[in-house]
């Protein structure tokens, strides 16, 4: 067997040192040597060179060897006071062999001491760790960037969405787009404004789940009652609209509306309960206005709908010329006009016969 030669450690453990029996350094391996000025370690006591934190009351080589199975934590006494991990073993001539590593301070250490690939033993997984830290950081950055983009896209998509998520019907935004398009391309149609009656009491009595279910059932019924060219939109909590494309016969539309109301009045079972609703409908056609505008139609339909509502619910009202002069100036005026008339005992002009 070859005699122990401290040089053997240089390649195997480039962060090691060897002391004599008094704890004075007799050999320092190349990477550890690189952390201080040349010749810094030789001949000096390891108890001066390092502050031992665990085990913490060590002053002699024997103290160290007694605690050899304790994971050693220490730091350089002189700046930069890099944290180190260590293990010791009995060395030649009653001294110790101490192997050190940077542990978690590795990133700082590499920067501080300008370490290279070749400063680590080929068996040392430090390189793999550094590679992983760098590769994972890059991958994480990309993932965060992707998350940010997806989040942005989700918000944008929600803002641009044309679909009401509960019912799958078109939403208000979609309806506005369709109205704008039909106006630009001179498409004629009849618009029906629908307000569900007794919906609030369904919500209050059986809860929101029942309300949601009723809305979904209503949506299915309206879609099956209309044709592929027609539009059904949910424009508010319990407010819906149907746009009958290419049809301007309001008498037919009223018959259609009455059919819809009958259909919606069918009891809707939900978890052992029966939900009963009805609908008030207001109707106006594009050819009733020259020229028509989306605002005007929406306001008119809204007003005729409120007439149906005020007139006892569960009915449909078709707009007639002269029904309400202020209609086009906005729904509020219109409704207040009608309510005023009703309160004052007068017959509602808007009432359909």
């Amino acid at each position: 067997m070859t005699e122990f030669n401290p040089m053997m450690l240089d390649r195997l453990m480039p962060m090691s040192l060897v002391t004599d029996a008094t704890g004075n350094v007799i050999h320092v391996a190349p990477t550890l040597a690189k952390t201080r000025a040349e010749g810094f370690f030789e001949g000096r006591s390891i108890f001066d060179l390092f502050q031992f934190r665990r085990p913490n009351a060590v002053a002699t080589v024997d103290d160290l060897l007694e605690n050899a199975d304790v994971p050693m934590r220490l730091a350089f006494s002189s700046p930069p006071q890099t944290d180190l991990r260590g293990t010791v073993s009995e060395g030649p001539g009653g001294g110790v062999v101490m192997n050190l590593s940077f542990g978690l301070s590795i990133l700082d250490a590499i920067r501080t001491y300008g370490l290279h690939l070749t400063d680590f033993a080929a068996t040392d997984p430090t390189m793999e760790m550094l590679y992983l830290i760098e590769a994972k950081s890059a991958a994480m950055e990309e993932t965060h960037a992707l998350n940010r983009r997806l989040q942005g896209a989700r918000i944008a998509a929600e803002e641009q969405a044309f679909t009401d998520t509960l019912t799958g019907l078109k939403n208000r935004r979609a309806l506005d787009h369709i109205l704008t398009r039909y106006h630009a391309t001179e498409v004629e149609f009849t618009l029906l404004g629908i307000d569900l009656d007794y919906f609030k009491s369904v919500n209050d009595t059986f809860g929101h789940a029942a309300g949601d279910h009723v809305l979904q059932v209503v949506a299915r019924k309206l879609v099956s009652a209309t044709g592929p060219d027609d539009t059904v939109a949910r424009v508010g909590g319990d407010e819906l609209m149907i746009l009958l494309k290419g049809k301007t016969d309001t008498a037919q539309a009223k018959a259609f509306a009455i059919g819809v109301i009958k259909d919606l009045e069918e009891p809707i079972p939900f978890e052992g309960n029966t939900c009963l609703i009805s609908a008030s409908i207001g109707i106006a056609a594009t050819n009733q206005f020259t020229p028509w505008s989306a605002d005007c139609l929406l306001a008119t339909v809204d007003s005729t709908l409120y007439i149906s509502k005020n007139d006892g619910r569960g009915r449909a009202t078709v707009y007639e010329h002269g029904m309400c002069r202020k209609m086009c100036s906005g729904r509020k005026d219109c409704v207040s006009l009608n309510l005023h008339k009703k309160r004052s005992g007068g017959r509602l002009e808007a009432r359909s016969v």
Binding site: G114, T118, L130, Y131, L132, A135, A138, E142, L146, R149
Partner: protein, 196 residues
């Protein structure tokens, strides 16, 4: 194919030939102008279409295009990170060549979904090597030729690289390292400082 691959091709076209050319390639390949998300996976056909669109737009034979892509990957400042990660493979160009066999595993450590072709390095002695790449889609070895040629410079090594053909999902690259310390090369600092 992994989004990182598609994104690399996208960045190569954009950084080398400008955003207008990328715009044309994107239209031809039927991909959105914003391009690819590096952390998502796409159908292989997308990569195929993308490369053919680039080939048409740049009027280059496919092998030249792929070699240029390999060069770009380890030389352009926008993808400096990749060069750094590759340089972790070894302290010399020869060490690096031997690390190529680990490359698919290394890549998987960072991005588990990334499947790189398997590579085998045969040492023929006297600085001569044969790199055997196994990939379902051909062309990977051309990328490796461009990448290795540029990394040889990066390490300061003088090396000859040549595509040595291939068939049945296997492609070969002949490598001859003439002088591993030919020049000082580019620095590689573990700590990641910017080069002086």
């Amino acid at each position: 194919m992994h989004g990182l691959v598609n994104k690399s091709i996208q960045c190569f076209v954009r950084d080398t030939y400008g955003p207008e050319v990328w715009g044309k390639v994107a239209v031809c390949a039927n991909v959105e102008h914003e391009g690819f998300e590096p952390m998502l996976t796409y159908e292989d056909q997308v990569t195929h279409d993308l490369l053919h669109a680039a080939q048409t737009a740049l009027h280059k034979p496919m092998d030249v295009l792929l070699e240029d892509l390999g060069t770009y990957l380890v030389s352009h400042e926008n993808v400096e990170r990749l060069r750094r990660l590759l340089r972790f493979g070894g302290a010399s160009f020869t060490d690096f060549l031997h690390s190529l066999e680990d490359l698919p595993e290394r890549a998987k450590l960072a991005v588990p979904e990334l499947d790189l072709p398997a590579m085998e390095l045969r040492s023929l002695g006297d600085g001569q090597f044969k790199l055997v790449c196994s990939a379902e889609q051909s062309g990977f070895a051309h990328v490796m030729v461009g990448l290795l040629r540029t990394l040889a410079d990066d390490y300061g090594a003088l090396a000859l690289l040549e595509y040595a053909g291939g068939a049945d999902g296997r492609e070969e690259v002949d490598i001859h390292v003439l002088d591993s310390g030919f020049s000082s090369g580019r620095t590689f600092s573990l700590a990641g400082e910017v080069e002086a």
